[in-house]
């Protein structure tokens, strides 16, 4: 008999509890596992499973009387479970973690002292537990006479008086505040609407802070029960509240919400006591999907910790302006005029500035050239009319070399030293080439520096000049002809591999030049038009890896970005393309550890976004994109990003330079922030030791990741192409995958690899059948199609099923990237959940399963036979070839032939299905239903086809079975919403082989990854993601 076994090795999912225990340690409840992080070093120190089933929902600690860190006492709770141990016990694997429970859901626990713990349950009852002699003993139970269900509650102790107060949030608007000693209700605060989701006391116990379904935060006076202030801002429900920074002036509140943000609020005694406003100071957007569930604070170091449904743990600096090296200032024109001791004329403005690493150079509309030395002190450099009204100012990224140019083509090159003095200066003009200057772009690589000059006259060529970085002389000069169409240049990059110059332009256009002949007119090698749907190519940067390919990172104003590969024949392809959720992109940064950061503007902010890890690195409310700005970044000795941002707002020049960060930003990477709907596993093309995993979630994003054969999992990129709710992702082969969603989206993706990451790019999409697509593409299947003569892969045969009972069989031609619909028909009027091609005795069938509990089979050989032949005898892998390349002749679609099998097997929806093709030609269909049952059906060749039910187990789970995955000839995995994952042997009836509980709620999909070396992993997706090792 089998003894196949499942062991969980990794879990990523919602984090519902965080607790800071010292100035470097943080505890985090990750499902039933408790993890310990060092947030100064940014590493996980230790993790351990502490509960059997329950998720950790809360953590509290008490410092020991001897002040030894290891003696800190910890209580964790979740559901009806709780456990108490010291930090030392926790880290000691020989120590068995005790497991206690009360008979009701726990909302909060509080240590009154080292030997007394109070436990508040969801019916507003407090149990008091004695912890003497390491034993847990119930000593008292108290309540205030009001025992209805709560949605939140906190026990709070006044550190000065020792007085304990219970704050209870009910489901009907009210907050009950009761005194623990007397059990008297002190206040019933009823000014909220809807259920109360959180209520806490300020650390000094003078204020109550609460939130409810009405999305407001309220501050109340603990003594009088008076409502003091309302805070509005969160776009959805608020889950967490914490108070810090208490002083005589007021305090701050840190909140986290379903709207995926954390926010900082200010409550001031003087200003707001009477007008009752809580001022929103900052929005922190570092989680994705939905729900930031938990938060905690380090009040001393002013750090905010958040964790959410995405499994990410983030540390936000709540006191950036107090860190070493921080510099923030703003100058009005008057201030500058006073500093440089020179009067500005009426209407004179600062038109332009740039950051050269030691200071800022700025030009006014009257041609005053000024320096902001060390970013602190303004100095006048010179005044030159040539640069009045119109002036271009550019700076090389890695050298303090500045180019300044006027409308008539007068240019000055200047090199600065550390004291912000001009070291060398070189003047020239462009009169030989053109008499008006429109724009200059500059760039450099290694020790080469060059500039590209553009005239507003469409007939003038672009002038390329190479600059000597030492003496600033012009080394070379070339004329680059522009194409006929109107061109406005926007970005520039030289690529070393191909020796080509790339010029990004407006209207999604890119010009490519090879710079070879001085004195001659260089035509563009290629002009790429309509590169994407948007407008301006905002940045281009070469990507050099060990592949010797010409590859570019390009960002576009419209928020999309690509990795573009230029082929030998000058055609191009995108290896990677995606877009940010909202906003305009100006450029990208690659960090030393390989993360890709994108920066740009959205609504009234400038932002820097870590696209690899999906969080906002920096946000500055600057008023929006239409202003002068300069963003300068570098990496410090710890490889951390540092930056300085200068911008103009209401004619004030503002500077922000970030200081030395105290803690590490990201402690845990996480994955999707909404339920994972499907998982797809494919082989890595050149590495047997890893698999490529594509996951798709309820928030419509897809993610590409790798799983190594030692179980390590890493996420690489995120895709936001789908608009509708995701339904299915399946591989066609190791190069192409398909994904489908609501709004009738069926996308074909090509998988590649570059820059040490797995990538994918949208290759084609099936046009929807209606103008306002509203159908869900529930599922699909595919078969590769080969050329009859040369045996090359030329296309795919695809079958898709829809929520309105529609079935389509489609041919996709790889060369033309076009779809042709061969069959277009309807099953009935119910929603079809699953579809598979099945091949029995060299005949091809379509098998579907639907909400009506039926398995149904269509014979499609009449239609398919017209164009394709099934020509492989290997039953397990059907091979089709296209007869005489008839693709062009396929013009209209036909209907399906008659149903040859239509058999009800489940009472209602067939929610899960997988197929086992047996070597003897018959197939087994394993299905799981909404009716909790598993059925194994067998389809064999007969006159037509013969359908038998082999085994049937009515109560295989206690709730809907949502996923079935065949593991091998005799074993299937069955997962259900009751969070059970079971292995069944299906050889003779159904025999249970293993039964495990998964922390992944809303369990909905599973896949197997089998490695060459024999390692086998099971991947489970739902509200979270887990990886299990399968052993024999």
């Amino acid at each position: 008999m089998d003894n196949m076994k499942l062991d969980q090795i990794k879990h990523i999912g919602p984090i519902c509890a965080l607790k800071v225990i010292s100035n470097n340690l943080l505890l985090s409840g990750e499902g039933p596992t408790l993890s310990l992080y060092d947030y100064i070093k940014g590493e996980k120190i230790f993790e351990r499973l502490v509960f059997k089933r329950n998720k950790i929902h809360g953590i509290e600690i008490i410092n020991s009387s001897n002040d030894i860190e290891d003696d800190i006492k910890i209580v964790i709770w979740g559901g009806r479970s709780l456990s108490i141990f010291t930090l030392n016990n926790f880290k000691d694997l020989n120590y068995e973690i005790p497991h206690y429970g009360v008979s009701d859901w726990i909302f909060h626990c509080l240590f009154e002292n080292e030997s007394t713990l109070h436990v508040l349950n969801s019916h507003n009852i407090v149990h008091t537990v004695s912890l003497l002699n390491d034993n847990c003993k119930l000593i008292n139970t108290k309540h205030c006479g009001w025992k209805s269900i709560l949605y939140s509650g906190t026990i709070s102790i006044n550190k000065e008086t020792g007085k304990i107060t219970v704050l209870a949030g009910t489901v009907m608007n009210g907050i009950l505040i009761w005194d623990f000693e007397t059990c008297q209700v002190k206040h019933n605060l009823t000014e909220h609407e809807g259920s109360i989701f959180k209520v806490v006391a300020s650390p000094d116990n003078k204020y109550i802070i609460s939130c409810s379904d009405d999305r407001s935060i309220k501050v109340w006076d603990m003594e009088t029960g008076e409502l003091l202030a309302n805070g509005w801002g969160h776009g959805s429900r608020i889950w967490g509240l914490n108070v810090y920074n208490i002083s005589n002036d007021g305090f701050n509140i840190f909140s986290c919400s379903e709207d995926c943000t954390a926010r900082v609020w200010r409550f001031n005694f003087h200003d707001n006591y009477n007008n009752g406003e809580l001022i929103q100071e900052r929005i922190i957007l570092v989680h994705t999907g939905r729900h930031v569930w938990s938060l905690d604070l380090n009040d001393e170091k002013k750090l905010g910790f958040t964790a959410g449904a995405d499994g990410k743990i983030f540390v936000s600096d709540l006191n950036e302006s107090q860190r070493d090296g921080y510099w923030g200032h703003k100058w009005e024109l008057n201030d500058i005029s006073n500093e440089i001791n020179c009067v500005f004329q009426k209407g004179e403005l600062i038109k332009n500035y740039s950051d050269f690493g030691y200071g800022l150079i700025a030009v006014t509309s009257e041609g005053k050239i000024m320096i902001l030395k060390d970013y602190k002190k303004w100095k006048l450099l010179f005044i030159d009319d040539k640069f009045a009204k119109f002036c271009i100012l550019k700076i090389f990224e890695n050298e303090p070399i500045v180019i300044i140019a006027g409308k008539m083509g007068d240019c000055i090159l200047m090199k600065f030293n550390e004291n912000c003095e001009i070291e060398i200066k070189h003047e020239f003009n462009l009169n030989d080439s053109f008499n008006r200057l429109g724009n200059i772009l500059i760039n450099g690589y290694d020790d080469n520096y060059f500039a590209l000059f553009e005239s507003p006259n469409p007939n003038d060529p672009l002038i390329y000049k190479k600059i000597d970085p030492i003496n600033l002389s012009i080394l070379e000069s070339y004329e680059l002809l522009k194409p006929k169409d109107k061109i406005t240049i926007s970005s520039l990059e030289y690529n070393k591999v191909s020796n080509m110059l790339f010029v990004g332009c407006r209207f999604a256009t890119m010009l490519v030049y090879k710079i070879e002949n001085e004195n001659e007119k260089n035509q563009p090698l290629v002009v790429y038009k309509n590169l994407f749907k948007g407008d301006t190519v905002s940045s281009i940067k070469s990507l050099y890896d060990n592949s010797n390919n010409t590859m570019l990172y390009i960002t576009n104003k419209d928020g999309t970005y690509h990795i573009m590969k230029i082929n030998e024949n000058s055609t191009y392809e995108y290896l990677q393309s995606s877009k940010i959720q909202k906003g305009f992109l100006e450029g990208h940064i690659k960090t030393p550890n390989g993360d890709i950061l994108l920066y740009g503007f959205k609504s009234d902010c400038f932002f820097v976004w870590n696209e690899t890890k999906q969080y906002e690195v920096y946000r500055e409310i600057c008023g929006g994109p239409h202003r002068r700005w300069n963003f300068k970044y570098w990496f410090d000795s710890n490889n951390r990003l540092r930056y300085r941002f200068v911008y103009t707002r209401s004619s004030e020049v503002q500077i922000v330079q970030q200081g030395e960060p105290y803690a590490f930003e990201l402690l845990s990477d996480g994955l999707h922030g909404r339920e994972i709907r499907d998982i797809c596993v494919i082989n890595s093309q050149n590495n047997n030791d890893e698999k490529i995993i594509i996951t798709g979630a309820e928030d419509t994003t897809l993610k590409i990741s790798t799983l190594k054969n030692d179980g390590t999992f890493n996420s690489h990129w995120t895709y936001r192409e789908h608009i509708g709710g995701l339904q299915s992702i399946h591989a066609i082969n190791d190069e192409y995958i398909l994904s489908s969603s609501a709004k009738e989206e069926l996308y074909l993706w090509k998988i590649t690899e570059c820059d040490n990451k797995k990538c994918m790019s949208l290759e084609s999409s099936l046009p929807p059948s209606e103008e306002n697509p509203d159908l869900r593409v529930m599922d699909f299947d595919s078969i590769e199609v080969y050329d009859k003569i040369n045996g090359k892969k030329i296309g795919f045969l695809i079958v898709t099923v829809y929520s309105n009972s529609m079935i389509k069989v489609i041919y996709y031609d790889i060369a033309s990237k076009k779809f042709k619909v061969l069959i277009d028909d309807n099953y009935m009027q119910c929603c079809i959940f699953h579809v598979r091609f099945v091949c029995i005795d060299k005949r091809l069938f379509v098998l579907i399963a639907s909400t009506n509990g039926h398995l149904s089979i269509y014979d499609i050989n009449n239609v398919i036979g017209k164009y394709f032949s099934i020509d492989d005898s290997n039953i397990k892998e059907v091979k089709l070839s296209l007869n005489d390349n008839k693709f062009e002749e396929i013009n209209e679609s036909t209907k399906l032939d008659k149903l040859i099998i239509n058999q009800q097997i489940h009472q209602s929806s067939v929610k899960a299905l997988d197929i086992l093709q047996e070597t003897n030609g018959c197939i087994k269909v394993i299905t799981g239903g909404d009716d909790n049952s598993i059925i194994v059906s067998k389809i064999t060749k007969d006159e037509g086809l013969k359908f038998d039910i082999e085994s049937f187990l009515p109560s295989a789970a206690s709730s809907t079975i949502t996923t079935v995955t065949v593991i091998d000839e005799k074993t299937v995995l069955v997962g259900a919403v009751d969070q059970s994952i079971k292995l069944w042997n299906i050889e003779n009836g159904l025999t249970l082989v293993d039964n495990k509980y998964t922390t992944v709620a809303d369990t909905g999909c599973s896949e197997i990854a089998s490695f060459k070396n024999g390692e086998k992993y099971l991947l489970i997706g739902g509200a979270g993601f887990s990886i299990w090792k399968i052993t024999n």
Binding site: V102, C136, I149, G194, D214, Q907, S933, P954, Q979
Partner: protein
């Protein structure tokens, strides 16, 4: 996902509108009744978590179809206010509050009920374990009332979320009723966790006299009932895994040809799906009561939620 377009195409929603039900939920009760003949001999009912009131509408129509039904009674309870329905006594209260149960009992004045139902659903947070727990608490509160007010042989129907601990509940209900079935009406989406527990034939536990004491929480009320629930003890050593778990039989109800709540139907008004127009005039579909976050939406519309710097 575009909720509005899905709703437009939701045939149950359209059908409810046409037949005058306040919510599409009406069809869930109707389909449950089709399968289990729930309304047979039922005159005295408690409808818990009843707003906006479509179940009460169905019950009122059914029970008061013969005019001289003088001893019939329907009491409907919800946190939310409900607009009046003929022959229905409406209470606005929290069913988990012990006092609420007393209030309902008071309306029955010592007499028993034939049927207790609850279509209650909590404010779903997205924390599956908490949501399932609170849902289970609503069911327990309903069951608590049922044990106090149901006549022997009476029926109990409640909405459940079929999550990780649903088998515990099945097992506990098994001690109190002849038959416990998990039923899923076709009008309830396959994609939701929702189903209904249909309990037929109430059998009071021997020797246990339920008493509604407003000082007892639901949990405490059941403490001595011996239906396999873990209860608090001095050592706090609950062994959760030892609690009994049973899977109740599953029955899908409603005709297979009835409307599929997961399917997308064409918007075409004269499609061949037969939408029955009910001749009886009932109250129109009720506009939803204002959500608690109405003010937040209003401030957002006015652009007042931004940070001003």
């Amino acid at each position: 996902m575009g909720k509005s377009s899905k709703d437009k195409r939701d045939l149950y929603y359209r059908k409810a509108k046409e037949e005058g039900w306040r919510a599409r939920s009406a069809f869930k009760l109707l389909q449950l009744n089709e399968q289990f003949d729930l309304f047979n001999d039922v005159k005295r009912v408690v409808d818990l978590c009843a707003a906006p009131g479509s179940w009460s509408q169905v019950l009122s129509k059914e029970i008061f179809k013969d005019k001289n039904n003088s001893d019939a009674k329907i009491v409907a309870v919800d946190l939310q206010p409900m607009s009046p329905i003929d022959n229905v006594i409406e209470l606005q209260a929290d069913i988990t509050h012990p006092k609420t149960l007393e209030m309902i009992m008071h309306h029955f004045d010592g007499e028993k009920a034939d049927f207790v139902c609850s279509d209650g659903a909590p404010d779903v947070t997205g924390l599956h374990d908490l949501d399932e727990y609170i849902q289970a608490q609503l069911i327990l509160s309903a069951l608590q009332l049922a044990t106090c007010i149901l006549k022997t042989g009476g029926k109990f129907v409640a909405k459940i979320f079929r999550g990780r601990d649903i088998d515990l509940l099945y097992s506990q209900l098994g001690y109190l009723f002849d038959k416990v079935i998990c039923a899923k009406p076709r009008s309830s989406r396959a994609s939701s966790l929702e189903a209904f527990i249909v309990c037929i034939g109430y059998r009071p536990r021997n020797g246990w006299i339920p008493s509604l004491n407003s000082n007892l929480s639901t949990e405490e009320f059941f403490q001595d009932l011996k239906i396999g629930r873990n209860s608090l003890n001095n050592e706090l050593n609950l062994e959760f895994n030892d609690e009994e778990r049973i899977v109740a039989p599953f029955i899908a109800c409603g005709d297979l040809n009835s409307i599929d709540s997961d399917a997308t139907y064409a918007l075409d008004e004269d499609d061949n799906i037969n939408i029955q127009i009910n001749s009886l005039s009932l109250d129109p579909v009720q506009s939803p009561t204002a959500p608690p976050y109405k003010k937040a939406l209003e401030l957002k519309r006015k652009g007042q939620l931004k940070i001003v710097k």
